[in-house]
């Protein structure tokens, strides 16, 4: 008799052979996406007194390779919301399909015009993002949701792959958070209180200027971009804009990386 209690009640090794643990466990724990593959870079968003401007370039990179140059990373949701996607492009396409089926469901369920506004959509998307990070299977994106809230005031908020949400009169994801956000904040010296003093033209110019700065300094960016202006009257989305008035005069001053090491 085996006197070790841990052996009691189990098949005896001397009769059945040692237990083969490989039946119980696979060799490796289950893993999910640990890094993005094809990625989009920054998305910029700025509120102004009657609405929001949002922009992102049309590039999808595969690592440092500029793989796809006509990817539209600004998507609209009827009637009056726009979502800008940074990060993994396939996850963006998945989220876009989710939004499309949500829109179809919304239209099917109500005979009357109940709509989801930008705020509702941001709540929904942030729940999706948080759910997926809690499954240890995050959607590798940084989103900006732009539109109007239930009081028809400009709405701009972000959600990221951790389900973190943040709202501010100017927002930028990815590299833009470091390069463009400080520039955009010059428009809003008093944060939210400044929004009423910013015109649509000012906001558009600031965004275009920042897209240019990003193209100068972000190696994963491109000079073709999409820009959307959301107001009460609807969404004006232009998907094939080109950066204008570039000036590379500053470039030969730069030292410390690239070909000029010192």
């Amino acid at each position: 008799m085996n006197h070790y209690p841990q052996a009691w009640g189990r098949p005896r090794d001397d009769v059945y052979g040692a237990y083969d643990h490989s039946y119980l466990q696979s060799a490796q724990p289950k893993t999910h996406t640990q890094s993005p593959a094809v990625t989009g870079t920054s998305v910029l968003g700025v509120k102004f007194k009657d609405g929001v401007v949002i922009a992102a370039d049309n590039l999808a990179s595969y690592g440092s390779l500029a793989r796809f140059t006509d990817v539209k990373r600004i998507r609209t949701f009827p009637p009056n919301t726009v979502v800008g996607f940074g990060g993994d492009v396939s996850d963006m396409q998945y989220l876009d399909r989710l939004l499309q089926s949500l829109d179809i469901r919304e239209n099917y369920l109500s005979s009357t015009d109940h709509v989801l506004n930008a705020k509702n959509l941001h709540t929904y998307l942030s729940k999706i993002m948080y759910r997926r990070r809690s499954d240890f299977n995050p959607l590798w994106n940084m989103l900006l949701v732009a539109g109007l809230d239930d009081e028809d005031k400009p709405f701009l908020a972000s959600a990221d792959l951790l389900g973190t949400t943040f709202s501010s009169p100017t927002l930028a994801t990815g590299f833009g958070a470091h390069l463009a956000q400080p520039l955009l904040r010059r428009l809003m010296p008093n944060d939210e209180a400044s929004v009423k003093d910013v015109t649509q033209e000012q906001a558009i110019n600031a965004v275009k200027e920042c897209m240019k700065v990003l193209f100068y300094r972000d190696a994963r960016s491109m000079d073709k971009y999409s820009i959307a202006v959301i107001t009460k009257d609807g969404v004006d989305l232009k998907e094939d804009e080109k950066l204008e008035n570039q000036s590379w005069a500053f470039a030969d001053q730069i030292r410390g990386y690239g070909t000029q090491v010192n």
Binding site: L109, T112, H114, L116, N120, L121, Y124, K127
Partner: protein, 260 residues
């Protein structure tokens, strides 16, 4: 013993094209005490007559708050209404949690309508034995819906269901054209008067047997703001009854009788 051969389940039509189980369920609604609902451009009011099973028991619950913007009044099997109102509470909460949006009234009424319909088409199921008046406010304003055990739902301007509700309906029909422009207080008055119409000869509205609920749109700083679901029950209805309904004198006297 059976009225006929076609009323054992809700999957068999009678040769006249009727489903008796559903009709019997609708009879259960008529056994319940009366509830009244009516809408104006800004408010929706539910009033209900409560019964107590016996002297020693409390009065039944006739109006259930589902959410800040939504409530139901029931006539029929109270336990069936609890199942439905719990379902509505869940759906309403789900909408708030996932979209940050109060669920549109039409949407949630369709949900309970679909639920009730399935139990009229499956063997071994029983239709809900309860009728509901669903009152709520959403982006499109105040709404009143009638829900019946068949799964049929209808938007109403004013409605009364339950025992002796025909008299209340007659009152509502007579005053229908006034409701749209009623103020909150006028709408409450019409709600209570319609309820009073359906009372038996020797009965009157008291703080014990009357429930009233209001939801509305209040104007604040030029913007429309939700006036949350408010239930007036017990002593709370006292002032409303005094202001709107004549009661046969001596309000204080019947509160406590002492030996003399």
């Amino acid at each position: 013993m059976f009225r006929n051969n076609y009323d054992n389940d809700s999957v068999t039509f009678s040769p006249q094209g009727r489903i008796f189980q559903v009709e019997y369920a609708q009879e259960a609604v008529k056994q319940g005490s009366v509830v009244v609902g009516l809408v104006s451009k800004t408010h929706v009011v539910l009033t209900a007559l409560k019964r107590n099973a016996e002297e020693l028991s409390s009065y039944q619950k006739k109006v259930v708050g589902v959410d800040d913007h939504l409530g139901v009044a029931l006539a029929g099997l109270a336990s069936d209404a609890r199942v439905l109102s719990n379902f509505m509470k869940q759906q309403s909460l789900a909408s708030k949690l996932s979209y940050g949006r109060p669920i549109p009234i039409e949407r949630i009424v369709n949900m309970i309508g679909d639920r009730a319909q399935t139990s009229t088409q499956h063997y071994g199921k029983r239709p809900y034995g309860v009728g509901l008046l669903v009152a709520g406010v959403d982006d499109l304003g105040p709404h009143l819906f009638e829900f019946s055990p068949s799964g049929m739902t209808q938007e109403m301007l004013a409605c009364a269901i339950g025992a002796r509700s025909q008299m209340a309906r007659t009152y509502l029909e007579r005053h229908l054209d006034k409701f749209a422009d009623c103020s909150r207080d006028e709408l409450i008055k019409h709600g209570l008067l319609a309820l009073k119409e359906s009372l038996a000869q020797d009965k009157e509205l008291t703080v014990d047997n009357t429930s009233l609920a209001v939801i509305g749109l209040a104007e604040k700083d030029g913007r429309k703001k939700l006036e949350k679901f408010k239930l007036f029950d017990g002593q709370d209805v006292g002032p409303l009854l005094e202001a709107n309904v004549e009661t046969s004198g001596g309000g204080e006297g019947d509160a406590m009788e002492t030996d003399s």
